[in-house]
């Protein structure tokens, strides 16, 4: 962890967990979705639900979904800006099980409703976040480092192919998590990197036969 996460970051108030963290969670959902968001359902849990309006948590999540960073003065007016961008949204309360008190469930849909993303994430203090679930799979995603989210065929050697492509480009892996729902199905790996991967890295990965999706998530 960097000391700039402690003596920082610069941000819009009033709460690092309830405003900055909320904006980051929204932005992370936007990056994961990677398509124009037509409709967003934001479900707040615990302390997020109890004190949303007072902390601007609702405005911050919507601002994050619009792509704003936590220090963007536009966060304050995100509801108005969402309407301008034709992003429909609703804010609801939800009770989730066994999650951090500051947790949000975000559901995103494209216009045709053919694509959806369901993300659960928590604001764990000082504006830092942890995404714990993407589309039903448990993950641990912090957005603190440049991250790749790759969907691939779950078969022997596939992860080795991915790591060797990264190695060929002199990209060092800091943390790596591998998941799958069922054996032989689609595998999902989250790789946190020490360096930013250039477009050529993303392209090499995408060209690989059994890789279905490569999503680059810049550090938040």
């Amino acid at each position: 962890m960097s000391i700039f996460e402690i003596m920082g970051p610069p941000m819009i108030g009033p709460s690092s967990s309830h405003t900055a963290g909320a904006a980051r969670l929204g932005r992370m959902a936007r990056l994961l979705f990677a398509e124009k968001i037509d409709r967003a359902v934001v479900k707040l849990h615990g302390s997020f639900a109890d004190t949303a309006t007072g902390h601007g948590t609702d405005k911050a999540v919507i601002g994050g979904l619009l792509g704003f960073l936590p220090d963007d003065e536009r966060l304050k007016n995100s509801f108005v800006l969402a309407e301008k961008e034709n992003m429909e949204y609703s804010i609801e309360e939800v009770k989730l099980r066994e999650v951090h008190p500051n947790t949000v469930l975000i559901e995103l849909y494209n216009q045709a409703e053919t694509k959806e993303l369901k993300m659960i994430g928590s604001s764990v203090g000082g504006g830092r976040i942890e995404v714990t679930e993407i589309n039903g799979s448990s993950v641990k995603l912090t957005g603190r480092m440049p991250t790749l989210w790759i969907l691939h065929k779950d078969r022997p050697g596939e992860v080795a192919i991915i790591t060797s492509i990264l190695g060929d480009h002199q990209i060092n892996i800091a943390f790596m998590q591998v998941y799958r729902n069922r054996k032989g199905d689609i595998g999902s790996c989250i790789i946190e990197l020490d360096q930013k991967p250039g477009p050529e890295v993303i392209e090499s990965l995408s060209r690989s036969k059994d890789i279905f999706q490569v999503r680059y998530l810049p550090a938040l």
Binding site: S2, I3, I6, P9, G13, S15, G46, T51, T53, G125
Partner: protein, 292 residues
């Protein structure tokens, strides 16, 4: 090089015969692969945001989300300016700056979290007021902010910094301890004094609950920032006088974590206990939500 506790941080500084800020900077250089100049310039940006927030808060009435705060720093300024005898009192400046930044924060303005937004008035108030009084330059202020960051980092390794998980002790308490350490470094104290100031400040904020009225970062947060900032200055003075904390810093951090775990959730940022459910708070809550 790395440090996971205040003991390790102190022993590195003593071994290299240098300031805490220098160790924090070196470790940050290794971790982030940034140069000294890059780190200093990034901290300089934070310092600028802090200065802007102070300026804005001491000169303007702030529209906060709930309207429960907004002119406290203005009142302090007019008190200081109309009483010549009060001008020289550094506590007045500290109080006024802490109020200013916290009010800007409550109004969805730009601040530097340190370690959180709810506690963002404390470190800038202490550091900027001291730097003015002692006529210190930006270079020294940046060093003191690095020290504050390093101390907060140690806490984050072992404890939470979220009011929702640890209560206000984890926010204003930790900020006060960070500011106390930074103040010692600005005032020319040794690394050991830095750690003692940190301990004295944190120890006396243990058990502080997070019970904001109507769920807003306004009452008691804004004035608590002023109290925690003056508290930091007092702790730094005791440490500079050679007063030591009987309980070592790392044990205080563990005690804070345990207290946080033992606190019921109604006192951890849910606004379901403490000040938040006093008759006045409940009435205010109703008025605020009616307006919306």
């Amino acid at each position: 090089m790395e440090y996971k506790s205040t003991a390790e941080l102190l022993s590195l500084a003593e071994k290299e015969n240098t300031a805490i800020s220098e160790i924090v900077l070196k470790v940050e250089m290794e971790e982030s692969e940034l140069s000294r100049a890059e780190i200093e310039s990034r901290m300089m940006e934070n310092l600028q945001v802090m200065r802007d927030a102070v300026e804005r808060g001491i000169n303007n009435k702030i529209e906060s989300g709930g309207g429960l705060v907004g002119d406290e720093a203005l009142k302090m300024q007019s008190f200081i300016n109309s009483n010549p005898i009060e001008k020289d009192n550094i506590y007045n400046t500290v109080i006024s700056y802490a109020l200013a930044v916290s009010e800007v924060n409550a109004g969805m303005g730009k601040i530097v979290a340190g370690p959180t937004a709810g506690a963002s008035g404390i470190v800038p108030a202490v550091v900027l007021a001291l730097a003015e009084k002692l006529e210190l330059g930006d270079e020294q202020i940046i060093k003191s902010l690095l020290t504050a960051g390093g101390l907060g980092y140690v806490v984050s390794r072992k404890a939470t910094l979220a009011g929702a998980a640890g209560g206000c002790q984890a926010e204003c308490g930790v900020a006060s301890a960070m500011a106390a350490g930074a103040a010692v470094e600005l005032r020319g104290g040794t690394p050991e004094m830095v750690v003692n100031a940190f301990s004295l400040a944190l120890k006396n904020m243990l058990g502080l609950v997070c019970d904001p009225v109507a769920g807003l970062v306004e009452v008691p947060c804004v004035k608590r920032n002023a109290a925690a900032a003056s508290h930091a200055l007092s702790a730094s003075t005791m440490a500079l006088a050679g007063i030591k904390s009987v309980i070592p810093a790392d044990e205080i951090i563990i005690a804070m974590t345990e207290i946080g775990d033992q606190l019921p959730s109604c006192l951890k940022e849910t606004s379901k206990g403490g000040l938040a459910i006093t008759p006045t708070a409940l009435k205010l809550r109703e008025e605020i939500f009616d307006k919306k």
